[in-house]
């Protein structure tokens, strides 16, 4: 069955690039601009994986993670963070909120797919 992934990222170019890479690899992809947008879309789009940025207007990645972990439907969903080297503390916070893994920006499409496969199987 095709796995479904939602990309949550405020940068349109990055979001599209991730979506493109994932759909090319055979995943079904939805896009969200921020945490709130993601939560809204996730009620319709039953995702198997969330890839989210840390800093976003409205709802950031950590807040999104906390609310997903509190949601019975998404309690165990893998959540991957997009981070940069300078956000080590944020990474820790994300882990505590229930993040599954992370990808350090900048990354190449192959690296993204590698991490996705690691947590999705």
């Amino acid at each position: 069955m095709t796995k479904r992934i939602i990309t949550v990222e405020d940068s349109t170019s990055l979001r599209e690039m991730i979506s493109f890479t994932l759909s090319e690899a055979g995943y079904e992809v939805a896009q969200a601009e921020d945490g709130q947008d993601a939560l809204d879309k996730l009620t319709e789009f039953k995702a198997d994986l969330v890839i989210t940025d840390l800093n976003m207007p409205k709802m950031n990645g950590i807040e999104l993670t906390s609310s997903l972990r509190a949601n019975q439907m998404y309690r165990f969903i893998p959540i991957i963070f997009l981070t940069t080297e300078s956000q080590l503390q944020k990474k820790q916070a994300a882990k505590e909120a229930g993040a599954t893994g992370w990808i350090v920006k900048p990354f190449k499409p192959d690296q993204l797919l590698q991490v996705v496969r690691k947590v999705l199987g």
């Binding site: 940068s11 170019s13 990055l14 690039m17 309690r75 893998p78 300078s86 893994g101 900048p106």
Partner: protein, 706 residues
């Protein structure tokens, strides 16, 4: 990278940079506004991250420097000054410029800006920081077995982690045995379905290093207990290593104390059962340790199998393959015969193709049975070393052509003859060190073992640089032993071959090593039975070389097809010297005397018709095949010489296997069976019949009839 993505990134960056400009100007007015600082930082951060992703590495590097400073501003370490704002503005302009030009390097101006930012934080690092590449997992050539204990925290599922995926990642890294530990699963009443109670023990044999294994667990490091222990290094060179015993593994793991182990060891049962009975350890722990043992042993076995990078095949299967190929060769011969008789070009064409393919198939099949002789050579190093030591001599062994291949059956039967020859060479050939140096020879003697292909045979030569053979001494010895007549003329070569006679020894003393006079004739017999020949060359004071010429294979031989009456026989081509015709007169004379004269020389003569008890009358002109048997030329009379025949040897059944003079049978193209003659046996049988003493001497029977 898709162009449209780069384009999208650029457009987005223009927007961000435009926003950044106004943000910075606003910030100059309100330097304490934290939200503004955050937004400036965020803008730079986005450009940095996206820049690298879309191939704008220079922008990313450049922005990184600015971001570092802005981060400190955000944390309140640095104040917002008009200088900082001005510098950031010029940086913003620079980014815009770099975005348009798509440059991959920082120009002078950009470097100046970076230097300006560095000054602000007092960082005098001269080189711009390079984004460090993610280190590739190191693949070592060494294979290592690790014991990995992975115990995820019970809440691991709430981080979206599936531990089974991690295990399958490990499985992909190499040889893997996974044991699940389930002893912590609570009774159903206390069971939380959202918790993970299972832990795993993984025994992994891999080329990857420990870091690569840690990388698998990178996301769960903080959410689990993980221990990775190197338990075994696989040295590819080692041959007979074995893995630890169960007790050692348990001690190693700290699962049992040495005292408890010793207590239990005094009883006699499998250690695991004894430990269980004594209740010092749980079954689970023993099972895990046993799994480890099994895993490493399995890997070691595989290593051993891999070392020759070959496939083990049951010898019987190979034999039956050779048999089948033999049958095919036979049928093919029949087809060729039929085709050449019929005037059908198409059939001839097919027959030729079948012939070519059959030949290739035959050669391939035979090559499967071929083994490099090096395996045999290497056994003699120890022998030479030990013998030299025993005799107080210094001897080294040098080998050549160890890669030369020979039929496995031949190799197996070569061991004993070679041992004899090497023993003789060291004992009789190579002199004592003192003697050698007095001759100006190197103190250390050399035994040279060499093998090379020569047509359809392999020549193995064993040379020593010892004293050499003295023909006159050999002859005197032979006379003394009654092996030859005192007045018999012998060529040098004939003298040398005297050492192959039964009961011949030149050594005055019998040593432990050789000198019982049984060595060389045994060698001769073994080589004969392999349808090989022995050649000896020697020069006094320089050394002796014994060459063994052996057929490549025992399964198919080249033979000469002959007939006597209605029966067909094959004589191995290797022993045949020539074929001659005898007139009726000559024949009668020869038969009477059991001797024949050929080119002025007298040779023993054997009538196959007589020996094999075939009735009928010999034709007027008899054909004689001169063969080299038991070191002498002997004539075998036959009715007809039909021609050369590639012979697939079929062994005879148990009932017929011991018939003297017949070594096997073969099936001809038309389906007729021909027997393969063992000329050595035939000659021997004849000789014991005639009881002659030496070549050239008149046989007694002839004496009586004369």
């Amino acid at each position: 990278m898709e162009d449209r993505h780069v384009k999208a990134f650029k457009e987005e960056s223009y927007d961000i940079l435009a926003e950044l400009e106004s943000l910075l100007l606003e910030l100059e007015e309100n330097p304490k506004d934290a939200t503004l600082i955050d937004r400036v930082f965020g803008a730079m951060h986005t450009i940095k991250g996206s820049g690298a992703m879309f191939g704008f590495d220079a922008i990313s590097d450049f922005t990184h420097e600015i971001e570092t400073v802005l981060d400190m501003v955000r944390d309140g370490i640095l104040p917002v000054t008009s200088g900082l704002v001005r510098l950031t503005l010029s940086a913003r302009d620079k980014i815009l410029e770099m975005l348009d030009s798509g440059t991959q390097s920082l120009d002078k101006e950009a470097r100046a800006i970076v230097a300006g930012f560095r000054d602000l934080i007092g960082n005098d690092e001269s080189e711009i920081k390079e984004e460090s590449e993610e280190p590739e997992p190191v693949e070592t050539t060494l294979r290592i077995t690790y014991r990995i204990l992975f115990k995820p925290n019970t809440d691991i599922f709430t981080t979206g982690t599936n531990p089974l995926l991690l295990l399958s990642e490990l499985k992909a890294m190499g040889e893997c045995t996974i044991v699940a530990r389930t002893n912590e699963i609570p009774p159903l009443a206390e069971y939380n379905p959202e918790a993970c109670y299972v832990s795993w023990e993984i025994i992994l044999t891999t080329n990857c290093d420990e870091n690569a294994i840690r990388d698998v667990f990178i996301f769960v490091e903080d959410n689990c207990e993980l221990s990775i222990e190197k338990i075994f290094e696989h040295d590819s060179g080692a041959e007979s290593e074995d893995y630890k015993r169960l007790g050692e593994i348990l001690l190693d793991r700290g699962a049992v104390t040495p005292e408890a182990l010793n207590n239990v060891l005094n009883k006699h049962k499998f250690l695991g059962e004894r430990l269980l009975e004594s209740k010092v350890i749980s079954r689970e722990k023993i099972d895990a340790a046993l799994k480890e043992q099994e895993h490493v042993r399995k890997v070691l076995q595989k290593d051993r199998d891999m070392q020759v990078s070959s496939l083990r095949v049951d010898a019987a299967k190979l034999d039956s393959l050779v048999d089948l190929v033999g049958e095919l060769v036979t049928v093919q011969a029949r087809l060729s015969q039929k085709a050449s008789g019929d005037n059908d070009p198409e059939l001839q064409l097919i027959a030729e193709s079948v012939e070519r393919l059959t030949e290739e198939l035959r050669d391939n099949t035979m090559s499967i049975r071929m083994v490099p002789i090096g395996t045999l050579f290497s056994r003699f190093r120890r022998l030479v070393h030990d013998l030299a030591g025993e005799l107080g001599k210094e001897v080294q062994i040098v080998t050549d052509g160890a890669a030369t291949e020979l039929d496995k059956t031949v190799i197996d039967q070569l061991n004993e003859p070679l041992v004899h020859i090497i023993r003789n060479a060291i004992d009789h050939g190579i002199e004592q060190p003192a003697e050698r140096s007095s001759f100006g020879k190197p103190v250390k003697g050399t035994i040279h073992l060499a093998a090379e292909h020569a047509g359809a045979s392999v020549v193995i030569s064993i040379s020593d640089d010892g004293a050499g053979l003295a023909p006159e001494i050999l002859k005197a010895k032979a006379v003394e032993k009654g092996l030859i007549a005192a007045d018999q003329e012998l060529s040098e070569d004939e003298c040398y071959s005297l050492i192959l006679r039964p009961g011949f020894t030149t050594s005055t003393e019998v040593t432990d090593v050789s000198g019982r006079g049984v060595g060389m004739d045994v060698v001769k017999r073994s080589i004969d039975s392999l349808r090989g020949t022995i050649g000896i060359t020697s020069s006094k004071g320089i050394g002796t070389t014994i060459s063994l010429r052996l057929p490549l294979t025992l399964a198919i031989i080249d033979g000469l097809l002959v007939s006597v009456g209605q029966d067909l026989f094959v004589i191995p081509l290797a022993v045949i010297d020539e074929c001659v015709e005898l007139s009726k007169e000559e024949s009668i004379q020869s038969r009477e005397r059991s001797m024949m004269t050929f080119r002025g020389q007298v040779h023993p003569y054997v009538s196959l018709r007589h020996v094999l008890g075939i009735g009928g009358v010999a034709p007027a002109i008899e054909k004689v095949v001169l063969v080299n048997a038991l070191g002498k030329r002997t004539g075998f009379s036959v009715d007809k010489v039909i021609g050369q025949h590639q012979t697939v040897i079929k062994t005879l059944s148990k009932v017929l296997g011991n018939v003297e003079g017949i070594s096997g049978a073969t099936i001809l193209g038309d389906g007729t069976v021909a027997l393969i003659l063992d000329v050595n046996q035939l000659v021997k049988a004849e000789r014991s019949d005639i009881q002659y003493k030496a070549q050239g001497a008149m046989p007694r029977r002839v004496e009586m009839t004369a």
